[in-house]
């Protein structure tokens, strides 16, 4: 099994009402009539994907993040998804608990699994590739690096979208990166951790 040299091609952060691509701020919540950050970002970034509005918070974050990550490029159809978070689908789980008090909403229940965000991304970009979702207390660069490496070295994936999509009590923390053989930044667990912790000034 040949070891490929894996590189980070691009990365995105979504935190504190802002979206960053490769470390540069590309969107910040503006004051105005529309106060919902996700809705505003959707409009500003011209996503043009009406299914977005039916999704739960976690899936909306995932769709926004991948749209920014991938931009106008074509996605290799074997691009695998290796995503993780700490709070699973807790935000939606609590909404499901609420709806259990009256008539249960199927549309809410559908999102009570964290991997649905990967399903939504796969549907949007028509990816029939490999997907895995990990739960860990904190961002774990080693875990993501190890698994992404296995997928790319075994020729199962030409690229991997890997990272962290977390949501709790309306606080979100998203960091995704696109990994392939052609990027600029060498891919390592330490680099992932460093980029994840990136603080905007």
């Amino acid at each position: 099994m040949t070891s490929k040299s894996l590189m980070i091609k691009s990365y995105v952060h979504i935190r504190n009402n802002k979206i960053f691509r490769n470390g540069k701020e590309i969107f910040a919540l503006e004051s105005g009539l529309e106060t919902d950050f996700l809705k505003q970002a959707y409009k500003k970034l011209k996503l043009n994907y009406p299914k977005f509005h039916k999704m739960d918070g976690l899936s909306k974050l995932g769709i926004l993040a991948t749209a920014v990550l991938i931009g106008e490029e074509t996605v290799d159809p074997t691009t695998a998804l290796v995503v993780s978070n700490s709070n699973s689908s807790l935000d939606t789980d609590l909404k499901h608990f609420e709806s259990m008090k009256n008539i249960v909403s199927p549309a809410i229940f559908v999102y009570t699994l964290p991997n649905i965000v990967m399903g939504e991304i796969s549907i949007k970009y028509k990816l029939q590739s490999e997907n895995t979702f990990f739960i860990s207390n904190d961002f774990n660069g080693h875990l993501l690096k190890d698994y992404s490496e296995i997928l790319m070295n075994s020729a199962r994936a030409a690229a991997v979208v890997s990272g962290w999509i977390d949501l709790k009590n309306e606080e979100y923390d998203v960091f995704l990166c696109l990994i392939d053989e052609k990027g600029n930044i060498p891919f390592s667990a330490e680099k992932l951790e460093q980029l994840y912790r990136f603080e905007n000034e």
């Binding site: 809705k39 009406p50 509005h53 039916k54 009256n102 008539i103 249960v104 909403s105 199927p106 549309a107 559908v110």
Partner: protein
């Protein structure tokens, strides 16, 4: 009569998160599923919830939904005949 149809359109837009739709964009005879509004199986289940919540009609067989939700007109006719609220 037409109030129920408008009411249904408003409910559907809200319940199914059809953010980019306006009430006057939905035709009374337009198919709601398939090509029309492009609703899917989860939307059909949510419409079943709507029937119960707003009109007191309980559907136990999801297959019934195909006929009842064919269009706004069909929905309104069914509700008028069976509503308990």
């Amino acid at each position: 009569m037409s109030d129920l149809r408008t009411e249904l359109k408003e409910s559907i837009i809200e319940q199914l998160n059809l953010e980019e739709m306006e009430v006057d964009e939905i035709q009374n005879d337009e198919p709601l599923f398939g090509d029309g509004l492009g609703l899917d199986s989860i939307d059909a289940l949510e419409l079943i919830v709507l029937l119960e919540k707003d009109y007191g009609i309980k559907l136990n067989d999801p297959a019934q939904g195909k006929e009842i939700f064919a269009s706004i007109n069909k929905m309104a006719e069914y509700i008028e005949a069976h509503r308990t609220k």
